[in-house]
Symmetry: C2
Subunit: 405 residues, 2 copies
């Protein structure tokens, strides 16, 4: 049995029982709550190093009761890479990049889906469905296949090719909808009633947060349980930022953290779709839908986030900000970073790097500070975004002036 | 300093000094040799669990002397995943898949390039070049970027889009050649003379083998230092199979292996390009060039392998075989496996699964045996191979008969 005690409405604190299928409470997401004193008593922090190098090493801070329900593709413990050249160029030489592109299906979405599918399996779910703007559909398709579940993926027509491909590869029943992700979400809601689907949308079941939380747990462990000064995180649905914030709270409560530093969270969006940044600037707790969302960073094309208040609460409590990057500079920034560090930077992460540039210019971040940027997915998944027109050579008489460079 | 004592010709045993730039000796590859007694004295096998979850945990069995030269993107310790449904379907329920799709740049090529670039850096190389049929170019481009080296990548015109894309993304100078990988290799050889490139081709420098060797080291550690009965490995240039064979020899010599089982190696190719399988059948030690190589498994499109005799020696010494799979069945097999297990199976690995089917049919493998298949890259990198024609839905009036499935 896990250490979960109950679920709790993120908006009003209403308590709901765990170990039964839950979705939203009065339209708002649920937190998973644990007996943290018991966790503290059960686990020796310094013995974690001996455990398997996946997110399941934090088993006592995860909600799965039944080992047989665990649905794993080996996810987690993504590398925390120094980025000295990029950091120097940006004025933050201590820059670290947590590289989520090396997870199953090439994105951070694997974490949330690993937990959500494991819990759905434990609770007897057989048919799952999800709306997706990008990587979530491929990740759910993979984990549903691993669990032997029926899976439906609903995508906007202009979803990136590779995301469509992986939904098909893993045997999901995938469909294109003439709308945006929230239109896909509306079809999923109707499918819950009509077809008995379980809705795996961001924050509409309680466990994707718990999977994303492991980004924070890993970051803490990788930094010797001392948290960094700032975390820049690309925000679509926002589960990762919410999950990390929860991770640091829980780690604080069980006494595993060294030092008093708690990171400022910078929620990063694109000027093409920045509802959270707009609400932050306006001092609002809830975000208005973004008009005409358009960005090459498909994971940021989320005009309506059901957890808007959770993201904004976490950002404000941390002393950070929600900001927006210039859409027209995303692709150039992505290429620049990849060339400097050899890391497969996605366009969503390019938004973070542009926000970072702005924060340094404003004097809010500097060379003394330890800054962590999350690279949420692999650039290789964005085949539509990059020009690949290569010079051609004859094998019989190659152009040596060209080759010599 | 590392435990390397010298380099040694794989064909005739000639000794050459380490710690100086070496390529081939009389046209044939070199082994890296270690003082294995000293390694055995220096490392406690059972303390490895405390080390970082990358291939650098095996530092004493790797050739890098200078820590500053280590060029890492967090590679290694890929998951060893049970594949119970696929295994049951094939008649080998103990089937395990070592999933190399989760490495940097989404393929096993990261291992070899991490070591080769680190050693090139240690030895003062500034310009590297490679011919590639697929994933090697992207991997070299990433590690060269990480090391700040100039990188030239030469590819056949029909190289997969994603491989072209990643060479460009990571800032390599990439070119298309009107020929196959060995034609690209000829241009690289000329560039060594004309432009001072260092040739990073498979087996033409000594250290890519050492990187690939870590697949064998990890497999042994992940299985509690007891080796499996059989390993099926897709063979293009063959470095992985050669490297694993070397790993098991070295682990035996330092006394880390439990039990006496040594795996039979099955080298798997496609009927579209199977020079090693053909040479094996004919009882030859050297392989004739494959005529008209054509396969969707781009990594297997290697008609001439400079390490042919090393592959064939390793396969024969192990009691295994070199075999070829039906090209026309690769894509269907890849999809079938991905749907059953949620693992991102590449077409090269599909060749292994077809060979496995054949070995079970012949009675050579059965339900008692522990079989390991290597998944050498992510299916998502093969966007040209998969049909992605999805049904379209109207958000206003979705077709519920279709959705209900």
């Amino acid at each position: 049995m896990s250490f979960v005690t109950h679920l709790e409405s993120a908006l009003d604190g209403t308590r709901l029982p765990a170990r039964t299928l839950q979705t939203l409470h009065e339209g708002r997401p649920l937190w998973v709550r644990y007996d943290l004193d018991a966790v503290a008593g059960a686990v020796d922090r310094d013995a974690l190093v001996q455990r398997e190098p996946t997110l399941w090493r934090y088993r006592e801070l995860l909600p799965v009761d039944d080992d047989e329900a665990i649905t794993s593709l080996g996810e987690g413990l993504s590398p925390l890479l120094p980025a000295p050249r990029l950091g120097a160029a940006l004025g933050v030489p201590r820059l670290l990049i947590k590289d989520e592109s090396q997870l199953p299906t090439g994105s951070f979405k694997a974490r949330g889906m690993a937990l959500a599918v494991s819990m759905a399996r434990q609770l007897g779910v057989e048919r799952v469905a999800v709306p997706t703007a990008g990587n979530a559909g491929g990740a759910l398709a993979a984990y549903a296949a691993r669990a032997g579940m029926d899976c439906v993926v609903l995508m906007p027509e202009d979803t990136p090719l590779v995301n469509k491909l992986e939904a098909v590869l893993f045997g999901a029943r995938a469909f294109l909808v003439d709308g945006l992700i929230h239109d896909c979400g509306a079809v999923v809601r109707e499918g819950v009633e009509r077809c008995g689907w379980f809705d795996m949308s961001t924050l509409k079941e309680p466990y994707r947060i718990e999977g994303k939380k492991t980004m924070g747990l890993e970051l803490a462990e990788q930094l010797g349980w001392r948290l960094p000064d700032a975390i820049l995180y690309p925000t679509g649905g926002g589960t990762g930022l919410i999950g990390m914030s929860k991770a640091f709270e829980e780690l604080g409560a069980i006494g595993w953290l060294e030092g008093r530093t708690r990171p400022r969270f910078y929620s990063c969006q694109s000027s093409g779709c920045s509802p959270i940044a707009t609400a932050f600037e306006a001092g609002e707790r809830f975000a208005a839908p973004a008009p005409d969302p358009a960005t090459v960073a498909s994971g940021l094309r989320v005009p309506v986030a059901v957890g808007d208040f959770m993201i904004l609460d976490a950002v404000r409590a941390s002393g950070g900000r929600a900001m927006s990057a210039d859409e027209s500079r995303l692709l150039a920034t992505m290429g620049h970073a990849a060339r400097l560090e050899g890391i497969s930077i996605c366009p969503e992460t390019a938004a973070c790097l542009l926000v970072l540039e702005q924060l340094v210019a404003e004097g809010e971040l500097d060379a003394e500070q330890q800054v962590v940027v999350f690279n949420t997915g692999a650039a290789q998944k964005y085949v539509e975004c990059l020009e690949v027109e290569l010079p051609r050579l004859s094998r019989a008489s190659p152009d040596w002036d060209l080759l010599a460079g």
